[in-house]
Amino acid sequence: MDLQEFVQHFAEQFDETDASIFTPQTKFHDLEEWSSLIGLSVIGMVDEEYDVALKGNDVKGSVTIEDLYNIVKSRI
């Protein structure tokens, strides 16, 4: 599992936020476009791409995209 690829998949869930601003260190809850609806898209993406079922607390408890990546990686 590749971190850069995960960041790219994560960025694809956003419509308005420019993809170039996403890095592993991005604090995604602080992004203006972030909402619980985007959270659903992220859960769907992780299920589709990595076959991992995330819980709401996994998303809420993660600060950076890399935090979430680490949770997904530990469950593959």
């Binding site: 619980s36 609806l37 898209s41 709401g56």
Partner: protein, 358 residues
């Protein structure tokens, strides 16, 4: 292994009653605007697929089920005195006591020699209710029965959620000596009991003045009599559990699920349902949806989708239907239609009830 199979029972007909009034999500009313704090109505509609839904201020579940049942009984040309059983599945009964089924027995003028009770389950409710009532009819002792699944007016006032629509559906079940088997798979995961929950008003947390206390639930202010949902948990549960249940059913009974003509899933929200269909590699034309115009109608969303989207296309078709939600609970059923009667959607005018009111 929670599998069931019945061989002497068939679905004779289906009907749905809905309020005549349409609530638009793109142009929310003053009270509904309270919901759109985190995202815009446009974003909500794009993600959930719910543009509008049917709502009424006064109609209860029994009012909508009653209207649908009168229409279906007429369309089926059934004699009311032949109906042996009535099962109501709802999370919004008219009263905490008695069972809504008892009120409907009298209101419909059914025989007093009638088995009638309620079942408390949510979005898996039509599949669970179907298995329960079919089990009664399979014995041959009961010949005709009605399953009513619906939810209308909520138990507590407050800003309405733009996701949910109101309805009352009826599914008519009949004993049949020779028919194609009806097959079920069920599952339950009570560890997710609080994923969708109404905290107060039961005996664990008795109704009290504190029940009106507003609490911040994932950014929304709700009191303890309103139903709260851990949206992301429910989403994750739905997209993983529903496809697995369909696959398990097909594997257990030895058929290829892709051979079915229609797949009707609980209408949770569009994003969730699109992912479920994608995971099962289903072609879009086999997966009807009623979310755009009627929203998430809880346990009734499967019959609502069949009644509103497949009114004239449901004849001699093989269906796979899967309901999933509060509990957490899920169920999948496979059946073949044969001479099924689908009534046209019954639209019910909102009015303050005068009968069966205390």
């Amino acid at each position: 292994m929670a599998f069931l199979e019945y061989k002497h029972v068939r679905i004779a007909g289906m009907a749905s009653g809905m309020p005549k009034h349409i609530s638009s999500n793109l142009h929310p009313g003053r009270k509904e605007q309270a919901f759109f704090t985190e995202y815009t109505p446009e974003d909500f509609v794009e993600t959930t697929g719910v543009e509008e839904r049917r709502t009424a201020r006064h109609l209860c579940t029994s009012d909508l089920c009653y209207a649908a049942a009168e229409q279906l009984i007429k369309d089926l040309k059934w004699n009311k005195s032949d109906i042996d059983a009535l099962l109501v599945v709802t999370q919004t009964p008219d009263y905490i006591l008695p069972a809504t089924a008892c009120i409907l027995q009298d209101r419909l003028g059914l025989n007093k020699e009638c088995y009638a009770t309620d079942m408390s389950i949510g979005c898996s409710g039509w599949v669970y209710g179907l298995s329960a009532i079919m089990g009664l009819v399979e014995t041959g002792h009961f010949k005709k029965a009605l399953l009513m699944v619906g939810d209308a007016r909520r138990r507590a006032a407050g800003p309405p959620s733009p996701l949910f629509g109101q309805s009352g559906t009826v599914t008519a079940i009949e004993f049949a000596r020779r028919t194609t088997p009806v097959q079920f798979h069920f599952g339950t995961d009570g560890s997710g009991f609080d994923a969708i929950i109404t905290p107060d008003g039961g005996s664990r947390n008795q109704f009290s003045a504190k029940s009106f206390r507003q609490e911040d639930v994932e950014g929304k202010m709700l009191n303890r009599l309103q139903t709260r949902m851990k949206g992301m948990d429910v989403f994750s549960f739905g997209i993983t559990t529903a496809p697995k249940s369909v696959k398990k059913l097909a594997e257990h009974f030895g058929f290829d699920y892709l051979d079915a003509d229609y797949f009707v899933f609980h209408q949770a929200n569009m994003k969730m349902n699109d992912l479920i269909a994608k995971k099962l590699k289903l072609p879009a034309e086999k997966v009807p949806s009623s979310m755009r115009h009627f929203g998430n109608t809880n346990g009734a969303s499967i019959p609502n989708t069949i009644v509103t989207q497949l009114t004239n296309e449901a004849q001699n078709k093989r269906f796979i239907c899967c309901g999933f939600g509060v509990g957490l609970s899920w169920g999948t059923v496979a059946f073949q239609t044969d001479n099924i009667v689908i009534s046209k959607l019954v639209e019910v005018k909102d009015k303050i009830a005068t009968d069966y009111v205390v």
